[in-house]
Subunit: 640 residues, 2 copies
């Protein structure tokens, strides 16, 4: 089946999917009513919107920064997704005003960038390595495609086509063009979107050129640095692996460098493999996927351990307190997983997508939608924060100077519905579970799929098919990797999961009738998860997971000194839904042990004795941490 590389599935578009669940629907609503408005205000207050008027002059405040365009573009993309599903007059007005500004800002030659128009006009296209020029173009392109899809308004799409054409006239393999490519990947995947939106193959070719050129010798970033009069070897990031340009992409076998850039590149590589059938590219994607998900990913689905360089480090190097785990990188992993899944319906991709979504991504935004984490550590000890460099913080912040994460999470939540279902020629896939419905057409028949479930708090899922006339197709229901005792019923009768559940999906192919009903039972005991023994930070520790939800201990529930808590190997763990906790979550409680501190007065080290006392421990979903009084947090609990 997987012999030919192709885009076997396409996502059911977000305007065809509804969410009426207790988990995501609320997040989407908060995103629309709180997050998007406060982010717009931040963009206004910091000058990011006004930058498009080109009224900035040297000496004035709010100098347009090289990556500001991307922040605004991501916000606009998020607004477009939101508007596609939910009319909102104020949001529409703000978004349209922004579209007007951007369209008007386009230069006669198609160029479209605030910083390099008003701040450093002479430096246009002189430093692709560091200056985010093509990256911003990518985000504007994604916004344009989303805006067009949401509203039918072609103005921004046309502007971005002109900009892409301009870029294609400057860069490429042809004689007389610069053989450059983005220092921060992003435009590559955006050009595939532009190709899909317009049908213009030149955009696919330009994307393919950028991906193929990456890491080739002579190295463009060397030539470019020389042209600027700089020594190429004095790259501030220490090497081209920082931006995945150390080798041609097909020769890359491990995930290196800046994690967000890596995720965007791998997403584009997957897109290109799917569109072009390029087996060598697909092989590289699978190899990189294995490295990321089997050797370099946190249990929350976060990636990129190191703050310095916001980067991947080495295999199994996953420090918890010092974890960088940038929100954007987890979002990028969702993008990539989703793309892999459209080529190969394999539960491994959906499992990772789900893991990142429910944990590392959602941790990035507060429950009230007003504050954001940039770094998402897996343990926090606030008293030591003052002494560690970097962006770690005990509380989410309202905004960041480098504000990539807030609008990124906004656009992902606004488009979440698009990640739930895919369809192939005669197959419908359900990747994620959440109460709601989807409308699609399969083998020429209209299908209304109603999903009833209380997922992720409960694993019972009931899908009812609405069909005007019977249709023969396969329904592929994801059986999550965390679930080892799934049960399936079709119209009330048990169906064997056996071979059907190959590659993580229970695939039922039959002539479906209106009102047919499929029930999936996914038992969700609280699991103690251990990490690979080479993950030195997690040795002797367990993480609690129930369904897709990874748990953590917080000081608010357990007092300080969380690392002193140990969990006996056989301690029972109880899960209970609590309406009043953190907006309604399943909390996990159990019996752990703690040292008797009074025995320690006046000594720092002493011969080992075991004096512990029983305590009740209480764990809450990691994605909801830091929504109460700031304090310690811990995912990996010592096992006694």
């Amino acid at each position: 089946m997987a012999s030919k590389v192709e885009r076997r599935f396409v996502p059911v578009p977000l305007n065809k999917v509804s969410l009426r669940d207790g988990f995501w629907a609320r997040r989407v609503e908060v995103n629309r009513t709180v997050t998007l408005p406060v982010q717009y205000e931040q963009c206004v207050a910091t000058g990011r919107i006004a930058a498009w008027r080109f009224e900035w002059k040297p000496g004035m405040p709010n100098e347009p920064h090289i990556f500001w365009d991307s922040d605004v573009a991501k916000w606009l993309e998020a607004a477009a997704y939101s508007l596609a599903a939910h009319p909102d007059a104020r949001l529409r007005t703000q978004a349209e005003g922004l579209v007007d500004l951007i369209v008007k800002a386009q230069q006669p030659d198609g160029y479209l960038n605030t910083h390099f128009t008003v701040v450093e006009p002479a430096k246009r296209w002189t430093n692709l390595r560091d200056c985010h020029e093509l990256y911003c173009a990518g985000h504007l392109t994604e916004a344009a495609v989303a805006w067009h899809r949401a509203t039918g308004d072609r103005r921004l799409l046309n502007a971005l086509r002109r900009y892409a054409d301009h870029i294609g006239s400057v860069f490429g393999p042809e004689e007389g063009k610069k053989r450059g490519y983005p220092g921060h990947e992003e435009l590559e995947l955006a050009l595939v979107k532009l190709y899909r939106a317009t049908g213009e193959a030149k955009y696919l070719r330009l994307s393919k050129y950028f991906v193929d050129e990456r890491g080739r010798r002579p190295h463009y970033f060397d030539l470019e640095a020389q042209a600027r009069g700089e020594a190429p070897s004095r790259h501030w990031a220490g090497g081209y692996d920082y931006c995945q340009a150390h080798l041609p992409v097909r020769e890359q076998t491990t995930a290196e460098g800046h994690a967000v850039r890596a995720m965007y590149l791998y997403s584009a590589m997957t897109d290109l493999a799917a569109e072009t059938g390029d087996a060598t590219l697909w092989t590289a994607c699978k190899r990189l996927w294995r490295n990321v998900t089997e050797e370099r990913m946190y249990v929350t689905g976060a990636v990129g351990s190191a703050a310095q360089g916001e980067r991947f480090t080495c295999d199994y190097d996953l420090p918890n307190e010092a974890a960088y785990a940038e929100t954007c990188a987890a979002i990028g992993l969702v993008f990539w997983a989703h793309r892999m899944l459209q080529v190969e319906r394999d539960g491994r991709y959906a499992d990772v997508m789900e893991r990142a979504l429910y944990n590392a991504v959602l941790s990035g935004v507060s429950l009230d939608g007003t504050r954001f984490f940039y770094a998402n550590p897996l343990a926090l000890y606030p008293p030591a924060l003052r002494f560690s460099p970097g962006v770690l913080s005990a509380t989410r912040q309202e905004w960041y100077g480098c504000a990539c994460c807030p609008p990124n999470i906004a656009r992902l939540i606004a488009s979440l519905r698009e990640y739930m279902y895919s369809q192939g020629r005669d197959e419908v896939c359900v990747h994620l579970y959440a109460q709601g419905s989807a409308e699609l057409e399969v083998t020429g028949r209209r299908l209304a799929l109603a999903q009833e479930t209380n997922y992720p708090w409960d694993g019972a899922v009931r899908l009812t098919l609405g069909l005007e006339e019977p249709a023969r197709f396969a329904l592929a229901l994801r059986v999550p990797g965390w679930c080892r005792k799934a049960r399936l019923k079709v119209n009330g009768r048990a169906a064997p999961l056996g071979r059907a559940a190959a590659k993580g999906y229970a695939r039922v192919r039959r002539l479906w009738q209106d009102g047919d009903c499929v029930e999936l039972e996914l038992p969700m005991p609280v699991e103690r998860i251990t990490a690979h023994p080479k993950v030195r930070s997690d040795a002797g520790r367990v993480a609690l997971q129930r369904g897709p939800i990874v748990y953590c201990l917080e000081e608010a529930d357990n007092g300080p000194d969380l690392n002193d808590i140990s969990l006996p190997r056989n301690a029972a763990l109880r899960a209970r839904y609590e309406q009043d906790t953190l907006g309604g979550v399943v909390a996990v409680t159990g019996h752990g042990r703690r040292s008797n501190l009074t025995a320690w007065r006046g000594s720092l080290y002493r011969p080992a004795r075991t004096a512990t006392k029983p305590v009740t421990i209480r764990a809450v979903p990691y994605c909801t941490w830091a929504n109460r009084k700031p304090g310690e947090m811990l995912v990996w609990i010592r096992e006694a």
Copy 2:
């Protein structure tokens, strides 16, 4: 007894103590024959010696750095200690040549500093906070005192007296003087040495002024910054606690900031309390001592956890892999402990002094004496080093741009003999055990004390007293805090340790005869040490210690992935002296467990199962780590 604060004891001088043991004597010899020569060559090669000729001109290489004088001074001090005990023609020639250069370099007004004479002459005394000017003066003063003691040559001592007089004419509480004090403490303790060497009370007063003035308002560093036209609030280190100037010293209750500075300040405070009887200062010393040793010290005796700021952080914050644990800070702790011990003969001070000496200090130099560690982490994972900022390294280096540690360890080892014995009016104290002898006078009688032992590998110690005529005095033998079953014999007969061993010393007062013999038996089982439960990095872990020696696992003995190793709670541990290991050490072996890696293929996280297999573990003294093939190292072993 301890009601009056005074200098109750004085160390038996190093030229009166001999070492003929298998542990320190070799280190001292390597220090003399290898370390001091290679360090001299480094000082020559880097221009540190030539700097004193004042021939440097702008544009030339080897611009004299603000702290170079201190490196050279520490080397000279080390050479002086070495020469005091062991003639060495080449070393003497080198040292005398250096003394000549320094003496000739003195300015007419007494000023003596290379950087501020040839590089920034206009900036003399304009930035005490950052520029190490008084710090360098302190190290030159220590060198001068040591050189005079070792050789009788007064030229350098006189030069430094003139420099101290000049400094005293510039700084002080008197009208018209600057109310400054050192940004990096050191001169304070050096002035006490100068006072003791010359009997001139003005040097003691100047030291006391510097200590008393520290942290007072209006803050001198503020005024000084304003005078330079800088905003005082924009201190690069983030606050005056970095240099212990956040509060007047008597109000300081926790060890803050740069650890080496803190140790030198506390040493000076202790000296001043001892010399002046200042009870408030002594109270501050004891309070800070408690904070450092009961809340902020590694099991190796290292202090200062954080690389950023080379500083103390917060209580119980002792990360192992990220430990800064600067060699100089452990040396400073030895200085301080030794001074506390002369005021109050309390085993707590000697225990810490011994802990630091045998572990954190000695770790700073390779067995062959040619290479040095700046940071001394308690765990090392080499593959991740590339991605962490800072000075962590898997191998000792030959030198450092900021080369404070190498000559510091050289001067400590060269003067080690001075840390072994103290004497009071009618009391002789033995603080450290090592085969050798001491000569002293007590109650007017000459005493030759012969020590036979194989310490630290064996805890049997035999002291024989040589007396021309009987003498009544107390012999106070330290009973180390790590030893819980010490036995004492006097002339072959068991003596009760009971009350005699109060405060960590077995004190035997009697009329001693020539040939009297005291035997101390200090059983040394391998102990599993646990850390206070609030030390989150060590939770669930044990360190192995035998006698004063802290052990570590190295990859060379145990393979990689040391954190995967666990030590069952009741596993037997065997200690055996191995002549051919690391120059001859007691190694510790036992049965541990390791995960079965083959069971993990292809997964990074999975439900907890316990699949471990038995392995033999082998631990070597921490102070000898990184003397074989570079690899992982681990002090705190997981307990299963």
